[in-house]
Amino acid sequence: MSFGSPYFTLPDFTYHKPRTLRDALELLEKYGDDAKILAGGVGLIAFMKERLVSPSHVIDVKEIPELKRLEYRKGEGLIIGATITFSELESHQVVREKYRALYQAVKLASDSIIRNRATLVGNVCEAIPWVDGPPPLIAYGAEVEIRSLDRVRRVPVADFIKGPVEIDLEPREIVTSIHVPEVPDEAKSGFVKFNIGSEFALVNLAAYLSLNGKKKDVRLVYGAISPKPVRALEAEKILLAEGDMRTLITSAALKASEELEVISDVLASEDFRRHLIKVLTVKLLTELIGGG
């Protein structure tokens, strides 16, 4: 994370380690704006060192049993608790076999030592445009579950992330889990990104395709190209049409590279990112459905 020169110490704060969700919510009710939730810490501690955030209260939620859930229920889907790490997801059999886009994203995120600490919920809550967690979740239509003392609500990940470091969460609320819907057996999904080593992606892409069921469904979600992950809706339509799959893939990739708003920054120009969108789309879709 290179936001500037690092400080070697953390600002002063009071550390809390609630043992129940209720205790955590009461602390949030009390300290609200002046508190931050700590799970894996790979984001929060780095940001605090850079003085991007300086909360007076840090609430460590790692000992709260409800947040340690990682469950799959047939017909319902996957529930990922707020303290579930990338490594735990990587070694989960259902994630590996059924939620391929999520599996490939968590397996490629950052580096294996960071993945032992980093949580998927933390990754989503940071809402940094170039991280790998959100695109597959949006492709599956996943929702975050949010709690406060008096309310439970669910919001699609696509709406929860409002922009860079901006999420739909009040200071008195906490994200308790992510719910990923069941996917049909015939559906295919995958994730690909362009990056160097463990650096952040210049473009990442999650695809979800259900082409053989009663209702055809295609979602292409691109990250790192704009303030928040976006779907290429026109390109998705092309893939829903009948025709030679290779031709459809080529025109969908071209359409995706043209239809989206793409940023230019110090890491990559807009033109280069558009080129990457095209290349990655062809690569991923060919792997997933190119044979058909």
């Binding site: 994370m1 690092p6 400080y7 070697f8 110490t9 953390l10 600002p11 002063d12 704060f13 009071t14 550390y15 380690k17 700590l38 810490g41 790979v42 501690i45 780095a46 060192k49 850079e50 840090v58 460590d60 790692k62 490594s87 950052s110 580096d111 294996s112 030592i113 960071i114 032992n116 600490r117 080593g197 463990s198």
Partner: protein, 159 residues
């Protein structure tokens, strides 16, 4: 606030007083005088402060000391027995898998853990597992060779 925390470090119980905002990295190095882990980037990039926390590799610059009260920590100092280098450490020397040596403790610890989990790794698996640790001298090729040559001992241990 000052917290009294107890850690098992390389097999020894250690009790130490820490403040809320102290990093595990600083407590291990400055208060417990464990100097095998190094402080370099302080922001989770270089991996030189990597330790085993309850059996998992973590970068200790991104962990609060107060978070890990009651945990078990292993650093490179905890690998050798009776002052004798391990086969993995000897392999690092034999293959010249270091120049300045600053990253070596982290690489030795992480490759030890890698070989425990997977005693027969491919080059790709080694590169992937160790991608979170940086060697500024660029001895990556030799590190991979050292790990592969020491892997034999880990396979034997498993049998």
């Amino acid at each position: 606030m000052v917290h009294k925390i107890t850690l098992t470090v390389n097999g020894y119980k250690r009790t130490v007083e820490v403040k809320d905002n102290e990093l595990l990295l600083d407590v291990l190095r400055d208060k417990l005088k464990i100097k095998g882990l190094k402080a370099a980037c302080w922001r989770g990039e270089c991996g030189l402060c990597t330790v085993l926390l309850n059996g998992k590799l973590v970068k200790s610059c991104l962990v609060l000391a107060v978070e890990v009260d009651g945990s078990e920590i292993v650093t490179v100092e905890g690998l050798s027995r009776d002052g004798e280098l391990t086969e993995l450490q000897k392999a690092f020397i034999e293959h010249g898998a270091l120049q300045c040596g600053f990253c070596t403790p982290a690489f030795v610890l992480a490759s030890h853990q890698l070989l425990l989990e997977n005693p027969n790794p491919t080059d790709e698996e080694i590169k992937e597992k160790l991608s979170g640790i940086l060697c500024r001298c660029g001895t990556y090729y030799e590190i991979i060779e050292a790990i592969k040559s020491a892997s034999n001992f880990y396979r034997k241990k498993q049998r």
